[in-house]
Symmetry: C2
Subunit: 107 residues, 2 copies
Amino acid sequence: MEMLTKLEELILLSVWRLKENAYGTTIYNYIADVTGKKLSLGGIYFPLDRLAKKGYLTAYIGEATPERKGLSKRYYHLTDRGIQALGEIKRVNEIMWADFPEIALSI
Amino acid sequence: MEMLTKLEELILLSVWRLKENAYGTTIYNYIADVTGKKLSLGGIYFPLDRLAKKGYLTAYIGEATPERKGLSKRYYHLTDRGIQALGEIKRVNEIMWADFPEIALSI
DNA sequence: CTCCCTTTTTCTAATTATTAGAAATTATTT
DNA sequence: AAATAATTTCTAATAATTAGAAAAAGGGAG
């Protein structure tokens, strides 16, 4: 499997964590909150589609809920391949980060 | 601090792990070994310079050793900023990956 | 009913990053 | 001197991200 970009990795992980509530805006917010980095909301959709095309995610259009506004949400869900890709990344991370110390926060 | 690319992250981590022996080729080999992904050796140098320009790494030209061939090695070393950046990434990873299960390897 | 507001996705142009691979550099060996 | 090996450097092609504007659709206010 080819190497995923950092954003793709973060998106996959967000979809996993958000479970049944993973769509563009919630994924964007989750990543922005956890990383504290500014990214562009629009820019989340391109890698999201790419991940779906590559078979890591499936997309389905959300049903109407009473208070809905805007375009229909596109919800995402991890495929087995997506879960497996995350598992591989996790294994690489465990090797790469082994023994890396906790760093004191600079005040 | 802006978000580092996946390659930049892997390079920084490799420099940390390789200690006094971190230069283009060893960094490339380490990343290739751990990730098992094919990347291009030449393609390691551009992000390496970029990380140095951004202040995460310092470079110094290696001294001649008895059996040297080729261009002088450029060794890299993490700056405090580089170590701090890795610490930040580690903290984000710990949040993002919390509770993610071990996946059985597909045979 | 019409207009505005909000939430959401889509699109586009500009910029930045990666890849592949060939070229250059230098020391050693033949 | 030529060949070889270990390195870095360079270049062109491709891919990815960013910034931000535009479009879609439903709800609510008047």
